[in-house]
């Protein structure tokens, strides 16, 4: 019995690892005598050798699947060992990991066993066991299985903190080439149902704090990058729409890792496109925390993110008329646009400049990346020449700098 659980764990964790979402944030549950809490700031419990955080027990209920998607390791045509947990096994595993503080909660995904309704019902059964059988108030992230009955999706929302439906392929045309049994409506129908559910629940809870919560940590999705020919512009435009219309909490970008034997429909890649993935996350950050819109970052003429420089610097170099920014007078939004100045530094600057002039050494202390910022700010201590450089000269200096320090690949956004 114990041997079997170990085998299943190995198999079904391995099969779940390509889902990049790890976040355990955005919720709030108190334990009220039972086990566990969910907090608004997530907690990382460990880090794997690939540098990713382990927050949740990320696992599949089953790796059986009725679908045959080209990019997926669990597709039906792969000759692989298959297994399924039972709701009891998974609930027991989650609680015992949680009590030892190995994890912040459960991330439950699944292949599609028999049909979407049956699979969704199994996932709900796991969550019910946890919430009612074990009085568990920790974090639960559940996949909503495309095609499942709306009533089952609704029940999932009442049990979980966060729900997600993965779009995977950013355009419907490409999705249908790579996953002929899927289409955009199978993805967007549950996604829209969830976003509507979250909005209605918010309104209900404003009227009565006793109304049960529906997916209090909202929903997220994942896009695979590099498996299909979409441009970064298409991807960011899609992500921006998801943030605005479906009110998604997060869009994850997963650099395509070829997991199956070569398929003519997919590109032959030797390494996952990690730099591109990182640039997309940086652009995503600009949209969520820096007040950039997708069409400022890229447009019909510039459709790919520059791999050599980050998207904020790229925007600054294309918009020299915006600079230099005077740190003693400029608004918070303007300061946020300066390459090398982050959210925290921008807040410190605007909150403290009433005490005196912002100097070079202040910026250094705050951890501003002066290497980049110095070309874009007005500051008395700077040699006059820096502010007069042309964008091309700045770019050349910064790119050479990057290559020297080996900072070409920097993946520190999680």
């Amino acid at each position: 019995m114990k041997e079997k659980v170990l085998q299943k764990l190995n198999l079904l964790a391995d099969a779940a690892k390509y889902d990049v979402s790890c976040s355990s944030s955005g919720s709030s549950r108190s334990s009220s005598g039972g086990l566990g809490t969910a907090k608004s700031a997530g907690v990382c419990h460990s880090f794997t050798e690939d540098g990713r955080c382990i927050s949740l027990l990320k696992i599949l209920y089953t790796n059986h699947c009725i679908y045959d998607c080209a990019y997926c390791v669990n597709r039906r045509s792969n000759d692989k060992p298959r297994a399924s947990f039972t709701p009891d096994e998974l609930a027991d595993l989650t609680v015992n990991f949680y009590r030892r503080n190995y994890i912040e909660g459960l991330f439950l995904s699944s292949g599609v066993l028999r049909n979407p309704d049956y699979t969704m019902e199994q996932l709900n059964a796991v969550a019910r066991k946890l919430r009612y059988g074990h009085s568990y108030n920790g974090y639960i992230h559940m996949k909503s299985i495309p095609g499942a009955d709306p009533l089952l999706v609704h029940e999932a929302g009442l049990l979980a903190d966060r729900l997600s439906v993965n779009i995977e392929i950013p355009t419907e045309k490409q999705l249908q080439i790579l996953a002929p049994e899927k289409n955009f409506s199978s993805v967007f129908t549950p996604m829209n149902q969830i976003s509507q559910g979250v909005a209605e629940n918010k309104a209900e809870r404003r009227k009565s704090g006793k109304a049960p919560r529906f997916a209090p940590a909202g929903q997220s999705t994942q896009l695979i990058v590099g498996a299909s020919p979409e441009t970064d512009y298409t991807i960011l435009k899609l992500a921006s729409g998801l943030y605005h219309h479906q009110k998604l909490k997060r869009v994850y970008y997963s650099g395509f890792v070829p997991v199956n034997q070569h398929d003519n429909r997919l590109p032959a890649l030797h390494n996952p496109p990690l730099v591109r993935e990182n640039r997309l996350y940086q652009a995503d950050w600009l949209m969520r925390f820096y007040h950039f819109s997708y069409d400022e970052i890229l447009d019909e003429q510039h459709t790919q993110l520059d791999e050599q420089i980050d998207p904020k610097l790229a925007w600054a170099l294309r918009n020299p008329h915006f600079f230099p920014v005077d740190l003693d007078k400029a608004s918070y939004e303007e300061i946020l646009r300066v390459p090398g100045i982050g959210v925290r530094s921008a807040k410190i600057i605007t909150a403290n400049r009433r005490f005196g002039r912002i100097t070079f050494s202040h910026l250094k202390r705050m951890g501003v990346a002066l290497k980049r910022a110095k070309y874009f700010i007005l500051c008395r201590e700077l040699p006059a020449v820096t502010a007069k450089l042309y964008p091309e000269q700045i770019r050349r200096r910064l790119v050479n700098n990057n290559i020297q320090s080996g900072a070409g690949v920097q993946l520190s956004l999680f």
Partner: protein, 262 residues
């Protein structure tokens, strides 16, 4: 730790109250301490005039009230967190800061982050808080025969106290203990309240943080093995990035993490 001649050194018992008493005494004596050393700090004392200050709850409370009067409750909390960094340099920095706070007219001095000393204090507090936040994740409980959950930690700063409310809220239905093996004390929750405790015997293996096999519950090794397997299975070999892993989870924290210490 600076060894060498100092004109004026104060020592105290290592508690925050002890430190605040030093502040009161030094201020009262009109002295300028060059080092304020915790006798807990397992450090060599420098040469020179050494004044040991006995902790006085009464004087500490006066200093506390003075801080709140001249700034606010949040600032007092921030200074306490800064103090938990446990560094002699930070202690002197705190002293200089408090002296200014008390000398100058009540105002917004304490909020001015353009001031190098204020900024350094805030940065130190941030470092301590970051480590406390990390340990919300890095604590690894083991279940004992009598259904208690115990964990060993060895943080850089004295953060165990800062973990109390988080774990109390999360695991309110079991007894648990988080023990700092370097500072030789811990926090223990008995399903009513959290208390600071010390232990007479060495319970944890100092290389692994494990408790003795006879003390572990029957299922302990089973779940630990499952966790170790999970840790390996969830890694994507094609994306190996050791540098990133180490910067998020520095090697000095690995010894008590069963997924890394095998």
């Amino acid at each position: 730790m600076q060894i060498g001649y100092h004109e004026c050194v104060y020592t105290f018992d290592g508690s925050f109250e002890g430190f605040l008493t030093v502040v009161f005494r030094a201020y009262d004596d009109k002295r300028e301490p060059e080092a304020i050393i915790s006798l807990d700090a397992r450090a060599q004392l420098p040469m020179g005039e050494i004044v040991h200050v006995e902790t006085s709850m009464h004087l500490a409370a006066r200093v506390r009230n003075g801080i709140v009067e001249r700034s606010d409750q949040n600032n007092l909390r921030l200074l306490h967190v800064t103090f938990l960094a446990e560094s002699t340099e930070t202690n002197v920095l705190l002293w200089r800061y408090l002296k200014k706070l008390f000398k100058e007219a009540p105002g917004s001095y304490f909020r001015n982050m353009l001031d190098a000393e204020v900024y350094e204090l805030i940065r130190t507090a941030r470092r301590v808080k970051r480590e406390a936040h990390r340990f919300q994740g890095f604590v690894r409980f083991q279940r004992t025969r009598d259904n208690m959950y115990v964990a060993a930690i060895d943080p850089d700063h004295d953060v165990v106290k800062l973990l109390s409310s988080h774990f109390r809220a999360r695991f309110s239905d079991r007894h648990w203990l988080i023990y700092d093996t370097r500072r030789k004390y811990g926090i223990y929750y008995d399903m009513k309240s959290v208390q600071e405790v010390t232990m007479a015997a060495q319970v944890f293996d100092l290389n692994t943080g494990y408790i003795k096999k006879q003390a572990r519950s029957m299922d302990e090794d089973y779940y630990r093995t499952l966790w170790q397997h999970y840790y390996d299975a969830i890694n994507i070999v094609e994306r190996k990035n050791h540098r990133q892993m180490r910067s998020s989870m520095p090697g000095r924290y690995w010894k008590y993490l069963p997924e890394r210490n095998t």
